[in-house]
Subunit: 431 residues, 4 copies
C-alpha cells in the first residue's frame, strides 16, 4: 500500500485520538494521561521508549505546578483511564516521552510534538463543535485551544506509518512528545537532558497560524522571538494606612513603579524587542498598606541576545523598585524560548514532500511566527551542533483564534500533516 | 431597683445576646438576622420601630453587595432563625433599624449602635475563647472582629433599661442600629434618610481602642479622620503582547501610573491627610496586554475639607491616568465618613455619668480615634443643626488587635457600657 | 537718657545702615562687605569680635558657592568699600561674626541676626520704593527680599545701645551675625563651632511674617519645621537616541522616577511632613539619551525625627532610582534646620519688654512659622543644654510677599525691634 | 577638458569655500551669510536663482529662533561680509536657495545640499585641524560638526561644472540649498513651497556615516527613520513648598510622569520605533512648588506611519500628564522627517557614475542611515509623484564622530563628491 493510501486509512483513527485527548485536556506538566497513551502506543509499535526523569533536566522544568497540584492531576489522569504504573513513573511532572526507532546506519531525524492544553475552560456554547459532537473537555480549566491535541494525534500517526515502513528507512528516528509548550516551559528541560544532541535533522509543526486553509503548507517557519518569562514576588510590611502609614513598606507601589519603568526599557537598535507585565496583583485591603504583590511578565527579542538584554534590564529594574520601597523581591524564571528561524535547505525538502502529498494545494516557503515557541530551544541545539531544523505550519481553518475558548480546527488537516512529515522523513533518510 | 442593680441583673443576658450575634456574624448590609432580632426585641419592649427602606436613603447605601449576594445572605439568615417576615422587608440590604421611645416633652436623644461583622474568617485556634466556649462564627468569611456584636448587645441592654424607666424620662429616645460601619458605608444612608434630623444629643460608643482596661471610660472621642473610599475600574483593550503590542490599551499601566501619582498628591498645610491604594489587580495573562484593572483606594483628612481636597485630586489623577493610556475608567464611591470631634460639654456629662457607675475606675476626657468612623456623619448632622454629639470609648482588654481573626473582648465591659449610657440619658433628659 | 529716647535718636541711623546693606545685597556665604561693616562697628563699640574660621565649622558650611564664585564676590565686596584686610580673613565664605560684651558675673545672653540676601534680581519697577528712593540693590542676582538687611541693622542698633548701657548689665552678651540663612545653610556651621555652647538665653527675630502691622510683636515663634536640603547629581551614559538607544544610561528617567516616587513617600502619623523636588534639569539634546541630571530637593518635618524619616526615605529612593537606570548618583547635603518652638517662659519676658516699648500696639503670645529657619539649630543647642530660647516676629507692613522681587518693609519697625530686644536683655540680665 | 580634469582643477577652490563656511558657521535658519554666498555664486554662474519667502512655506518652518535672535544673526552675517541687500531679503529665516539651470527638453533633476551648522562651540584643542590651519568657527555656539560646510562646497562645485557643461545637458537642473537640516526643520518648508513638485530624479548626499574612507561611495542610502520633534511647555502654579504645598500645581511632576510614560509607549509590531525625552528642565527653586517645565522630545519610526503612531501616543500622554497635575501644556512641533529609502534603479546609476570617477575605490549598493534626515521629505514628495530619489554617502575619514566638537573630515572627499554627482546628472540627462 502506498503512503497516501495508508494515511487515508489512518485518518479516522487520528480523529478518534485527537478527540479523546481533547476531551481529557491536560495543562503543562500534568499531561499524565496523554503521555501514558503515547508511551503505550509507541511501545506497541515497537519503539524504544524513554520517559520519566531520564528525559528531563529538572533544573529547567520551568513553571511547575505545586506538588499538591501535580498529585491531584496525576490522580485525575488515572481516574480518567491512564495506566497507573506508567503514570506514576511520571509523578512530579515528568511527562515528556521519547520514542526511538533504530533503522541502521544513517542520519538521526527528530520530530517534535507538543501535548499540553491551556488553562482555559472550554466554551459551553452549544454551537461550539466539540459540544455538538461530544468531545469537549471534561476537565474544567483545561482546554486544547491551541491544537496540541491534533499535534499529538499527528505524532502518533507518523509513529504508526514510520514503524510500518521501518524496512524502507535508514538511520534513527526520534519522536519527541513534549510537555508544557504553553508558557514555553517544557522544551528546554528535554534539550538540557540531551535528547536532541544526536539529531541531524529536526522537524516541528503547528496547525493553523499563517496557514489558514486545509491544504496549505508553510515549509519554513521564521521569526521566532526569543522570550523569557518570569514572576516577581514582592514582600513588604503592612500597616494601618490611616493610623501609621509610615510603618508600612509598600509592595504595591514597588510593583507599580517596576511595571512602569519596565515598559520604559530603551528600545534596541539591533531588532525588535518586547516587554509585557501581563498580570499584577497587590494588596489585601483598602485601608492597609499593601505588603504583597505579584507581577507576571515576559520579555522578547528578535534574537536571543536582544531578549537577554531585555531580561537583564528587567531584572535590574525590578530589584531597584523593591529597594526603592525597602521591600523584598524574589524573581522566579517561568519559561523561556530561544529565537531562530528554519533552515531553508530543510524547508525546501519539506516543500518537495508536500508536493507529493495529494491533499496539499498551496506550498509557501516561509511564514512569520510573530511569537515565541519553545521548539526554538531544540532548533537552536540542533543548529548549533551543525544539524538542520525546520518548523512547518499545517493549514487548517480555525473556528476562533488560538487560545480562545471556542477554538477548534478542521480535522482534515491531520492526515495531511502526517503524510507531509512521513514523506519528509523518507526523503531525509533516503538521501 | 436602682440602675446599677438592674444592669447587674441584666449582665448574663448581655453576654448571651453578644454570643448569639457573634456565632451568627453578618457583614455589612447583610445583617438580616441581627436586625430582625433587634426589631423583635424593641417591639417587645414597646418601642415604635422603623426599618426597611424608610430609614435608608438608597443613593447613599455605599458598597452594597450584589443582588445575588444579598439574597443568599437573606436566606442564610432565615435558615439561622431570622423571622422571615421581618427579614424579607429588609431585602436589598435595608438592615438599619430605628427604635423610638416617646416620653413626652423634652429633648430628643439619639444613641447609635453598629451591628456589622467583618469579611474575615474567624481563627480556628483552639486557644481562641470563642472556640473554647463554643460561640465562634458559624459563617465562614464573616466575623465580629471589631466588637460590634458587643455594641448591639449594649444597645439592646440600654433599650431594656430605658423602657423600664420610661416614666422617669422626658423627651424622646431614638436608638439607631446601623448596618455596614466597616468600610464606613452605612451611617450616611441613615443620616440622609433624615433619622437624626430631630436629635438634640447624640451618643455613640466603641469598645476598646484607646480604652484598654475594663473600667476605663473615654468620654470625648476626638480626631475622627474624614475619609472617602472608592474603587476605580479600568477597561482597556487586550492584544497579543508579542504580535501586536501597539493594538492594546494597557489598563495595568494606567492603574500603575495612577497608583504612583495618587501617593504623590501634595500634602496639605491645613492638617493631616492620607492616601492609600490598598488593592490593585490587573491583567489576565502574561502574554496579553492587560485590558482590565481594579484599584481599591481611600483618602483621609483631618477635616472634611482636607479629605475633599484629597478626593478631588484623586479623582482627577485617576481619570487622567486612564486618558493617558486611552482606557476607560469608572469610579465607584464605596463609603465615606466625615471628620469631627466630640462636643466637650456632652463629654463632660458622660464623665459625670461614668463617675456614678460602680465598675468605672478611670475616666479620661479625650482620646484620639486616629482613624475613621461613619458615626461622624451622624455627629456632623447633629452638630450642624445645633445639637451636641459625643463618642465614648468603653474600656476592654482585647485578645488581639481590632480586625484580627483572633480578636475578642472582655464581656465585663458590656454592663458598664449599658450603665454609663443609661445614666447619661438620664442626666440629659432630667436636666 | 532713657532707652526709648535713645532708640528714637538712633532711628535715622538704622535706616541708613539698612539702606546701605540693601543697596549692596550679598547672598549666602558672600556677605563679605556686610560682615566687615559689622566687624568694624562692633570693634568701635568695644565688643570683643571673633570672625573667620574660628567661628565656623567647615564641615557644616552647606551649599557653599565655588571657590571662583567666592573669590569674585570677595573682590566685589572690596570694590564696594569693604575693608580689604578684614574681608580677606573671611575668604572662603567665613562671613559669620560674633561680638562679645562681657559685663561680669551673670547669665550669657545670645542674640542672633542673619545677614544674607537672596539670589533674586530686584524689580526695576519705578514704583518699587527702593527704586524711588535710590537704595535698590546694585548687585544683579542678589536682593534683600526677606528683610535680613533690617535684621542686621537692628543687630547693630542693639549692639550700640547695649554697649552704651554696659554698666547697667550683668553677665555676657553675645551677638551672632550669621551668614546664609536662606537655604538654611549657615546657622549649623556656627553652632557646630560651639558659639552657643555657653548661652543661657537666646533671642532671634524676623520682620513681618504673621506680624503684619508696625507695632505688633509676636513673642513666641512656634512650629519651626525641621528640614533637610540636598542636591542629587545623576550621571549616566549618552547615546544616539535613534541609532543606539540601548547603549545609553538614562539619567533623565532616573531622576524623573526619583521625583515621582519621592513625592509618594508615605505620610507620617506623627505630624506634618513635606517633600519638594523644586528643580530638575536633565539632558543635553533632543536626540541624545540624557546622561546627566540634577535635582534640588528638600524634606521637612514637624519634628526633627519626622524630617529624619523623610530624609532617609528620600536618600533610599534616589539611590534606587539611579540603580534602576544603572546610572551613578551623588547626594550633596545643601543645608538643614532643626524643628522646634520657643520657650514660653522666655516669650513671656519678651512680652513684658514689648509692653514697655512705646511703639508696640499689639502683643501676641505665639505665631506659627509654618516654614523652616536655621535659627532652630541654635535654639536646639541652647535648649538641649538647659537654656531658654525664643523667636520673635517684629510687625511690619510689607510691600510684596517675602522672596518676591518687589519685597520691601516699613522701616518704622527697626527701632521697635531694637527696643524690644534691648529691654528683653535688660530684664534677663537684671533678673 | 574632461570632467575629471575639470573637477581636479576645482579642488582647491572647494577647500577654500568649505573653510570659509566653516569659519563662519551659521546654525539652522540663520545661514544668512552662507546663503548670500550661494545666491551670488549661482547668479554669477548663470543660474536662475530663487530665494526668500517664495521658496519656503512659512507654516512648516519648524523650530525658528526668536525674531530677536534672527535679527542678531542677520546683522552678524552682514558684519562678516554677507551682501546686505541679499541677506535682508532673507530676514525672518528665509535662508533656502534654489538655483535653476534650464537646458531645454528633458527630465528635471534635483540635487539637494544642506547648509546649516550645529549649536556647538568648536573645540579649542590645538590639535584640532581647524585650529591648526586657522579655519575654526569664529562664531561661538555654532560649528560645522556634521560636514554641511562640505556639502555646500560640493553643491557649488557641482553648480560650477554643470554650468560649464550646459550645452551637453538636456532638461532642467534644480539645486536646492536647504537650511536647518539639523533638527530636521528645513526641508519640509521647501517641499511644501512646491520646489520639488516637478523633479523626476532627486539626488542627495552626506559625507561620512557608513562610508568611512575617502574613495568609498554608498549609492543607496536606506533606512531613513521618520521622526517628529516637539517641545512640551508645562505651566502650573507656584506655591511655598513648606507653607502651602496644596496650593501649587506641580509642572515638574507633570513632566516627570510624562517622561516616564512616554518611554513606556508600547512597541510597534510593524517595525522599529523610538522615543526620547532628551531634555527636561523644570522648577525655579528648591522650596517652591515648580510651576514650569520644558521637555524636548522626539519620536521615530521605521515608517512614517509608525512615527505617526508614536507621535499620537506621545501627544495624548503629555496632555494627560498635564491634566493629571492640573497644569497647562503647550505642544510645539519642532521639526520632522519622513521615512524612506533610495530607489535602487537610481542608486544603480549613481554606482555607474561612481565607477567612472578616478578617486573612487569602493562602491557599496546600500547603507543604513540608522537615523533621520529631512531630505526624506523631498524623497517622499518626488517618489509619490512617480519620480526616483536616492541618497549617497561620500566616503571620508572623520576626526571625531558627527556632532562632536572635534569633528573634521578629509577634504579630498570634496572633488570626489562633485564628480560622482556631476557624472550621475550626465547619465540621467543623457539617457
Amino acid at each position: 500500500m502506498n503512503i497516501s493510501a495508508r494515511v487515508a486509512k489512518l485518518a479516522p483513527e487520528l480523529v478518534e485520538i485527537r478527540r479523546d485527548l481533547h476531551a481529557h485536556a491536560e495543562s503543562g506538566w500534568t499531561e499524565f494521561r496523554t503521555a501514558t497513551k503515547v508511551v503505550e502506543r509507541l511501545t506497541e509499535l515497537g519503539y524504544e521508549v524513554k520517559f520519566g526523569p531520564e528525559v528531563h533536566n529538572r533544573e529547567h522544568m520551568a513553571g511547575l505546578p505545586s506538588e499538591a497540584e501535580l498529585e491531584r492531576h496525576l490522580e485525575r489522569a488515572i481516574a480518567q483511564g491512564a495506566n497507573p504504573d506508567i503514570a506514576r513513573k511520571m509523578a512530579g511532572g515528568y511527562t515528556g516521552v521519547v520514542g526511538i526507532l533504530r533503522c541502521g546506519e544513517g542520519p538521526t531525524i527528530g520530530l517534535r510534538f507538543d501535548m499540553d492544553a491551556l488553562d482555559i475552560t472550554e466554551s459551553d456554547d452549544p454551537d461550539h463543535r466539540p459540544n455538538q459532537e461530544g468531545f469537549a473537555s471534561k476537565n474544567k480549566g483545561a482546554m486544547h485551544a491551541c491544537g496540541h491535541d491534533g499535534h499529538t494525534a499527528i505524532g502518533l500517526g507518523v509513529a504508526t506509518v514510520l514503524a510500518e515502513m521501518k524496512d524502507q528507512l535508514r538511520g534513527t528516528i526520534k519522536l519527541f512528545f513534549q510537555p508544557a509548550e504553553e508558557g514555553v516551559r517544557g522544551a528546554r528541560a528535554m534539550v538540557e537532558a540531551g535528547v536532541c544532541d544526536d539529531v541531524d535533522f529536526l522537524l516541528g509543526a503547528h496547525l493553523g497560524f499563517q496557514a489558514r486553509e486545509v491544504g496549505t503548507i508553510i515549509t519554513g517557519g521564521a521569526g521566532f522571538l526569543a522570550t523569557s518569562k518570569m514572576d516577581a514576588i514582592f514582600t513588604g510590611v503592612p500597616s494601618h494606612a490611616g493610623a501609621a502609614p509610615e510603618a508600612g513598606r509598600n509592595a504595591l507601589l514597588a510593583s507599580a513603579t517596576a511595571a512602569l519603568n519596565l515598559h520604559a526599557i530603551a528600545r534596541h537598535s539591533g531588532g525588535a524587542s518586547r516587554i509585557n507585565v501581563g498580570v499584577l496583583q497587590a494588596g489585601s485591603g483598602r485601608n492597609v498598606t499593601p505588603a504583597n504583590a505579584i507581577m507576571k511578565l515576559e520579555t522578547r527579542g528578535e534574537t536571543t541576545d536582544i531578549d537577554a538584554y531585555m531580561k537583564e534590564q528587567a531584572e535590574r529594574i525590578i530589584k531597584a523598585a523593591a529597594a526603592m520601597y525597602d521591600v523584598q523581591v524574589e524573581l522566579r524564571p517561568m519559561g523561556s524560548a530561544a529565537g531562530g528561524t528554519s533552515d531553508p535547505e530543510l524547508a525546501e525538502i519539506i516543500g518537495q514532500a508536500a508536493g507529493e502529498t495529494p491533499g496539499v494545494t498551496k506550498i509557501l516557503p516561509t511564514g512569520d511566527l510573530g511569537g515565541s515557541e519553545d521548539y526554538a530551544w531544540m532548533m537552536d541545539r540542533v543548529q548549533k551542533r551543525g544539524g538542520k531544523a525546520a518548523y512547518m505550519m499545517i493549514g487548517s481553518k480555525i473556528a476562533a483564534p488560538h487560545h480562545d475558548s471556542r477554538f477548534d480546527f478542521d480535522e482534515r488537516s491531520l492526515p495531511i500533516g502526517v503524510e507531509v512529515m512521513v514523506r519528509t522523513v523518507l526523503r531525509l533518510t533516503q538521501s
